[in-house]
Symmetry: C2
Subunit: 457 residues, 2 copies
């Protein structure tokens, strides 16, 4: 496959043109007004797959945004690889922090800047082009199925039922996913663990209308003050979460396992410098690698209430809100955590307010073994193209659907991510280095070759 | 003055037309874009005063929004009354809670609904029309000066210097103000105390950019979690404010004074019903009347940070903000409280975040004696028109400029407010009952007559 580099070199501009067209579609799944863009993005993916060489591609309806499915069956006897990705993206606010339009990709310093440049339009595009190369050069060693969904960023609510319904169609030996990161551009790595997630919205109501903070201040519950107190009480001074039962299912790793985990390359000083912080902070007794890799979290992702405009308004608002994300670790069930949270939140609410808890989305954590053929195939592929043996590591992120696939379809996933921490996914100025994009396209065909060979042996 | 009722009856529609024209000008002082509306409102006030019969009226520049000044000097030997009011209003958000356009006044259930209907366009309009009546019927017993400012809702930042500069022009025996409320429509009352105010904005910065809550969650300071903890820590479980030195200058009232204070008519069950709350809440050991009348407060008037849109976004924001109002009581100096707050806030910030405190506005508390001629004149006037002796009471609100007038001009104020708690000032659906508007116009001429007589005696 020595001609893969040349193939990329010759087609670079076309690849970028095609990817940019995909990125220009503002397919934000959490915002209702972008519904038509979800369809546009799905249609564009269908076109991409057909042009790349699948036998058939279709837009399949679900109870939510559609799934784009495509396949190339070269022989019923060969092992099928199922590629998963998503065409939906995160919202873009705060918009004023973007240096350029999030939906008009530009290249600066050899990086593509745009919402979805990495997560997951850029990364899933890698698979379309690696596949195109294998088809056009007769290098495809096995059957391939593609499944691109449009609701990953909101927790894939429709995909559970859809994939259960399509169990036969989706049959595969492995699910191949590029929706994670690598430790650094010169440290190839394979994600062997993902955290789960429970994401909730809370509402605290004080008086039935906004009140003048002078006439009523001091005598009536201020829902912001109360919400702050409730949030504050949910973590103790050691950063432990105080929700009753929260840690019941958390598995403590052995000293040896923790030691192994902390061997992954990590520089605390560079980490702090990159984020411009004087100190890291988190649960007492754990390293930064452990805090994101193996420990659950309690983060307020958004908070709002009262007057947030310019200058001063002396008001006690009627309501205050927060969006809360709890990252979970293996064995924690997000439905159970949602229940524990709601029970706890209601129990700590003082009688002068009313509270409401709404589950928004969730999913379980995932761990994958480094001993599997898929891991070996991926490790060899990365070693071939990066010239270094990759490092296995646990990411703090969540792709809830990965655990669901294992439960519903009975298929493990291999997470070959090409993103970097500096890609700023979910943030303003999301970007994806051209190096990572093209290195990804170069690496994937080796995975197919290695994986098909290992399964045949 | 038995013809005052008839005069109001005959001119009702014209009064409303004129007031509505004033209300339609969206003179929100805290929003930069409304600068031209401030000028419009000032010009309209000049016209109103001239039409009502002042000798001269002018728009006087200040370092901020202009002051409208007008006067009627019938004889240099007579006592002058200085009428103070403001033509600026509060912002209108949340706009979706208004039942009608805040700047298109409508009458529903015998109440005018609009921003400024009470505070303070409606209430200050009372003085223009009471004055017009006295001029046209030859009932004006003393000299009158009018001063309407355009920055009351943002703490009158320009008025201190301006009034010091205009000390000679503003010379008067009393400042007459209608910018407060009465206990109920059938319980006339005079405000004898106002709280002071210190209003600040705080900013908490964690990482230098928004981060993915999965990849970084648990390892990096989340500025919302930290802000919530900091806010929560600033009041203890008894509702006491924990800022070091905060209560140093607070005067504890004697048991007798507190007993007197609690004699003002108040129904806790009606209060709770009107606000749709199960319980009131506030500083332990004080009644609701005391909590708003004589105790300082700590209220978050606004909070924001992270993702506040529809659905879920898994983000650790770079920054979180809050607007904090502290109502103050006599002897507490707002500049000192601002310093104590900033020192305390910085001292409790953990090393993983940076914090910034910005003073937005402030003012001192005010108390006025019930033994003064102005109080007697006001009490007799209210008794004449309402048929009941008015109740003296302390309001929880603040009109910082009132304390400043005493300091700078050496003149006391008499607070004859005609507003009701249900007027929802500063809130959506602000309103002012026609009854209160016209009763105010009916009452004010009696105040002038009584006051001039008392000073002559």
């Amino acid at each position: 496959m020595k001609d893969i580099k040349q193939y990329i070199e010759e087609n670079k501009q076309r690849f970028l043109d095609e990817l940019f067209e995909l990125i220009r579609i503002p397919s934000i799944s959490s915002e209702e007004k972008h519904k038509p863009d979800m369809i546009k993005a799905a249609e564009y993916w269908k076109k991409l797959l057909l042009e790349a060489g699948v036998d058939k591609a279709e837009i399949m309806t679900t109870t939510g945004n559609p799934v784009v499915y495509g396949e190339k069956i070269i022989s019923p006897s060969l092992p099928p690889v199922l590629v998963y990705g998503h065409y939906d993206v995160m919202p873009v606010d705060p918009l004023d922090l973007w240096k350029s339009n999030p939906f008009e990709p530009v290249i600066r310093d050899e990086k593509i800047y745009a919402r979805g440049a990495d997560d997951d339009k850029g990364q899933s595009f890698i698979h379309a082009k690696a596949f195109e190369y294998m088809i056009r050069t007769n290098n495809l060693p096995c059957n391939v199925k593609f499944m691109f969904e449009g609701e990953e960023e909101i927790g894939s609510p429709a995909l559970v039922k859809w994939s259960a319904d399509q169990k036969e169609l989706l049959k595969a030996d492995i699910i191949l996913v590029s929706d994670t990161g690598m430790i650094a551009q010169d440290i190839p790595s394979i994600t062997c663990g993902l955290r789960g997630l429970e994401y909730l919205e809370v509402e605290v109501t004080g008086p039935c209308r906004d009140l003048h903070s002078g006439l009523f201040g001091g005598a009536v519950a201020n829902p912001i003050n109360i919400l702050a107190k409730m949030i504050a009480s949910m973590q103790d001074e050691n950063g432990h979460i105080t929700i009753k039962g929260f840690y019941d299912d958390v598995e403590e790793l052995s000293a040896f396992e923790r030691e192994e985990l902390n061997k992954a390359p990590f520089s605390l000083s560079e980490y702090k410098k990159a984020l411009d912080i004087d100190e890291v902070c988190g649960e007492a007794g754990y390293t930064t690698t452990e805090r994101t890799g193996i420990r659950p979290t309690f983060d307020v992702c958004g908070i709002w209430g009262g007057y947030t405009g310019e200058g001063a308004k002396t008001v006690i608002p009627s309501k205050a809100y927060a969006k809360i994300s709890m990252r979970l670790v293996p064995h924690q069930q997000h439905e159970k955590i949602a229940e524990l949270f709601a029970t706890h939140f209601e129990s700590i609410a003082p009688p002068c307010v009313k509270v409401k808890v709404t589950h928004l989305h969730g999913g379980e954590a995932y761990v994958s073994p480094t001993s599997s053929p898929a891991y070996q195939a991926a490790a060899q592929a990365l070693e071939t193209t990066f010239g270094k043996r990759p490092v296995p590591f646990r990411s703090g992120g969540s792709i809830p659907i990965i655990a669901t696939f294992e439960k519903v379809l009975g298929i493990k996933s291999i997470l070959m991510g090409f993103g970097l921490e500096s890609d700023a996914i979910h943030s303003p100025n999301e970007n994806f280095p051209l190096y990572n994009l093209f290195k990804g396209i170069e690496t994937i065909p080796y995975f197919y070759r290695n994986f098909a060979k290992l399964l045949k042996d």
